[in-house]
């Protein structure tokens, strides 16, 4: 196993595993957020559970943060290395003839997602950590819903969410099936999986956009 993460394929597989993990997390995150649209109490209950359960807080959360950091750091490392593998550029290159725009621009869609994650941390995660572990503010299991609705007042923030999730959809339109190919799964199920991947890549980000718009409009 030594040197696995130094080899091209080892990195490719690790990249894909981190991405698969992030896609499962995204689904879970969506499943909780969507409840805010139809049930204030269920959303509060779930958020309170996630926010106070020690397994979630001290095992899953660090793994998630590690997964995100690993994914984008490895993304940058690979991008730089891959750029260096062609020291003289083509004068004329017709990339669109053989590959999708999404597949060629993972680093750009990724950078927008990264910017969003920073905003997201400032919006939700830092106040959460501050609330719970720094200022030890009194706990109110019903505060979550109002915090969310309040955040979506600002049209600028809602706009940023929409843009970020459109870019996430593009990232996943290539990324979903790509991750399976990277871990070596290319077989009779691949065709169906690609279809499922496209649906996931469009519907989940669209769902997040819907939630943001819903609270923006209803909150007024």
């Amino acid at each position: 196993m030594s040197g696995f993460l130094k080899s091209s394929i080892g990195r490719k597989i690790a990249m894909a595993l981190s991405a698969l993990f992030l896609m499962i997390f995204l689904l879970q995150h969506f499943a909780i957020n969507i409840t805010s649209v139809f049930s204030e109490s269920l959303f509060n209950e779930l958020s309170h559970f996630m926010g106070t359960n020690p397994v979630v807080q001290f095992a899953l959360q660090p793994i998630l943060i590690f997964g995100v950091i690993f994914h984008f750091v490895m993304g940058f490392v690979l991008e730089i290395k891959n750029k260096g593998a062609r020291n003289v550029k083509y004068v004329k290159n017709h990339g669109a003839a053989n590959s999708s725009w999404m597949s060629r621009n993972m680093i750009w869609s990724g950078l927008v997602i990264l910017a969003f994650i920073v905003l997201h941390f400032i919006d939700f995660w830092f106040p959460e950590i501050n609330h719970k572990y720094i200022e030890f503010l009194p706990e109110d299991p019903n505060r979550y819903y109002h915090e969310v609705v309040e955040k979506f007042h600002s049209p600028i923030r809602v706009g940023a969410y929409v843009v970020a999730f459109v870019l996430l959809a593009m990232h996943l339109l290539h990324g979903f099936s790509s991750a399976f190919q990277s871990v070596g799964a290319n077989n009779k199920y691949t065709r169906g999986l690609k279809g499922f991947g496209k649906a996931y890549a469009i519907l989940i980000p669209l769902g997040f956009i819907f939630i943001a718009l819903f609270h923006h409009i209803n909150g007024h």
Binding site: N82, N98, S182
Partner: protein
């Protein structure tokens, strides 16, 4: 047809090189692309200029020698062909055609459009073979039953001619389509099992040392490959590599 050619000219490996414009008239649509370059070179020689250096050998799509990045694509705009199989009827009168060498750090330019692809040979030497005792009592390969599906898939992988179009087309200059074809042709057969672990580890190690980039599954290689080598081979190589790494 009358055409304008923009061709990469570079005296030698250390020269900086640049694009140079040439006019060529009365090109027959039935000419192959290389024949068109032959005509240009004859004109250049008659004028006392240095002819354009380009690679070629069989001129029938089997040796993999001809290269060229034509109008932004390896082997030009057509599919499933090498440059020697590209015909001028794919272009129109008055077209401007960009002709560049295959670009990758692992494929340094020797002169003009000729690049050094011996990095591929070194990857092959690292493991693209099986060891068979040929002392006179060699077993007939057909004596070992092999299921049709595996035999066909192995043969498909073995049709790779090592041209390097996959590397040239890849935005990462990745050689994974080539290497995976060379890994797969043996991985699918019983004869390839004995050295399977070392083969994939050593070939991938050599591939990395040569300075090829990392695959990000854009699929450009598969589209531009003259032999239609499939991305399934890359998935197979990744599985082989994972298995081999876990073993040791």
């Amino acid at each position: 047809m009358n055409l304008t050619l923009k061709i990469w000219r570079q005296k030698n490996a250390s020269d900086k090189g640049k694009m140079v414009d040439y006019k060529i008239n009365d090109v027959s649509p039935d000419m192959s692309f290389l024949e068109m370059l032959d005509v240009l070179n004859t004109e250049l020689i008659e004028k006392g200029d240095d002819p354009v250096a380009f690679d070629h050998d069989c001129r029938e799509g089997i040796c993999g020698m001809c290269s060229l990045y034509i109008n932004g694509e390896a082997h030009g705009p057509d599919r499933g062909i090498t440059t020697c199989q590209l015909h001028m009827r794919k272009f129109k009168d008055g077209d401007t055609i960009y002709i560049e060498p295959f670009r990758a750090k692992a494929f340094p330019v020797i002169k003009d459009l000729v690049v050094d692809r011996s990095s591929f040979d070194r990857v092959q030497h690292a493991g693209g073979f099986i060891s068979v005792n040929t002392s006179g009592n060699t077993q007939d390969a057909n004596a070992i039953p092999i299921n049709k599906h595996d035999a066909d898939a192995s043969f498909d992988a073995a049709t790779c001619i090592g041209c390097g179009a996959c590397v040239a087309s890849c935005k990462n200059s990745s050689a994974m389509l080539f290497v995976s074809a060379k890994v797969s042709q043996f991985a699918l057969l019983p004869q390839g099992q004995v050295e399977a672990t070392d083969r994939v580890l050593n070939m991938v190690k050599q591939m990395d040392e040569e300075g090829f980039g990392n695959c990000t599954n854009t699929g450009a290689c598969e589209v531009e490959c003259p032999k239609g080598i499939s991305l399934e081979n890359i998935a197979r190589m990744n599985r082989e590599f994972l298995n081999a790494s876990l073993k040791g």
